[in-house]
Symmetry: C2
Subunit: 291 residues, 2 copies
């Protein structure tokens, strides 16, 4: 049985990531290869200021990255958080999943693991990011709300009908050193169950992780909800509780085993995401219904 | 309305922790104070080799601790992971929850936050723990399975009917530096919903976190399951998937809003836990039914 692959990613920068993911599938890779190669594109792009190289730094001017990956067929997971000097944390997360007896490594320990496995280290703070950090220090760079933590999250269904999901981020701009949001947390920033579907999140990690949003979406799909309805239901729960936090917002993308997709957001004006399906790769936008 | 407080903790060392938690409630503290003060007892006890001071170190001989706390009334959460030289990570997790704009801090960043907030630092490696580490290095200390990662997890219901939950651990003995298990992960090692109930986990973090076990227990209770049935249902899911991992085991404790409790384990011969209820504090044991 051959399934038509589907790839869904957060944000317009997901378009280029989807393209690379589809190329990985076309050249014989599976859904895990697709997620890694796709997310690498956003990590490498200095124009994407919330993921990997060129990401906005923490309050001390240091870029710390987080990422995680989960692979349906083995239900395996790998995660890294608070890693400095590393361009491709999604690849390190995959390495942890496949070559460590652990699932999650943070900080210096994650860096030591990366060094042992030959990952290159580099200065991650680009000149434009440094200039913005200086402006922030001088209190002349007020970031617009919702523009400080745009994680790339991707769910991919391959021709074997297997699912993988990944997330990568440089986190909340000007965060306290060591801050970790939802992105590297299995169940919060991402989740997959190969029998059901997968989901990934973007938004204010501090809110998302208190509701295990990606896990909640997959549980919704397990109970028979469509990916779209499951995303909306998960966000309703968060929204009803986080009303007092004006910054609390989240966007979700999801894919089920049949290749049906969903995307939704709350606390945000609209949520553009990238969908690759049937040979077509495009940016679609979810707009919350007025209440 | 005055509710009868109930406190449930993992393992026999939960008995002394429950005692301190009950004392905190008796002297006017709420469920959050109970969880913090209770868990502090296990952290301070050098005989408890899997939590706080006296915990077995990582592969490099360094004790790295993880902890998290979640408070029902505000749905607030605080978490720290991979912190060195710190005796009471549960108190640091509470400080993060109450005095940081973030939920989770790891590694050096968590340590810097602790320093700024006046937490004392100390050598965490006791002589007995160091001796065991040396034996392990010399390959003469084969730890019995299941004895390397006995997290303290506690759920407390106070007289106002509010719930809090906490977890603290020194993690998997001889772990790779920076390894993080389920304990500091909201939804995996612990979860609370003040309208429903709370749950905490112990066991192999690498397995637990791939099923968001504590969140899954709370979701089960939300759907009407008793705490006992919810624990067993969550473990069934993990067990069905982790059969190929001989080390995969988990123990769960749970409490609902009405003060009913539950505890269960899988992949382990039995699971002793401590229950404080109606003025009585005792160790009970869950034994899995033969299949």
């Amino acid at each position: 049985m051959s399934i038509r692959p589907v790839i869904i990613s957060t944000w317009p920068f997901g378009l280029a990531a989807n393209e690379a993911a589809a190329a990985a599938l076309a050249s014989g890779g599976n859904c895990l290869d697709a997620v890694e190669k796709g997310i690498n594109v956003a990590e490498d792009d200095p124009e994407v200021t919330s993921v990997g190289f060129g990401g906005l730094p923490n309050a001390q001017g240091i870029v710390e990255v987080d990422a995680a990956v989960m692979y349906g067929p083995t239900h395996g997971a790998g995660s890294v958080a608070g890693v400095r000097g590393l361009k491709n944390p999604i690849s390190l997360a995959r390495k942890v999943m496949q070559h460590s007896r652990h699932v999650m490594l943070v900080g210096e320990g994650a860096r030591e693991f990366a060094l042992r496995h030959g990952f290159p280290f580099t200065e991650m703070l680009t000149e434009p990011a440094r200039a913005k950090w200086i402006q922030w220090l001088l209190k002349t760079y007020p970031l617009p709300p919702g523009k400080t933590h745009d994680t790339i999250g991707m769910v991919a269904l391959d021709a074997s009908g297997d699912l993988a999901v990944g997330c990568s981020t440089s986190g909340y701009a000007w965060k306290e050193p060591g801050r970790v949001g939802d992105s590297p947390l299995i169940g919060s920033g991402l989740y997959v169950d190969n029998e059901v579907g997968g989901a990934a999140a973007t938004g204010l990690g501090e809110s998302i992780l208190k509701y295990c949003l990606s896990f909640l979406v997959v549980e919704g799909m397990r109970q028979g909800l469509s990916p779209q309805t499951a995303c909306e239901a998960a966000l309703r729960r968060m929204k009803s509780r986080e009303a007092e936090y004006p910054d609390a917002w989240a966007g979700l993308v999801a894919l089920n085993k049949a290749g049906e997709y969903g995307a939704a957001c709350c606390g945000h004006s609209d949520f553009p995401y990238a969908l690759h399906r049937g040979g077509k790769n495009e940016v679609l936008t979810y707009s919350p219904r007025p209440e």
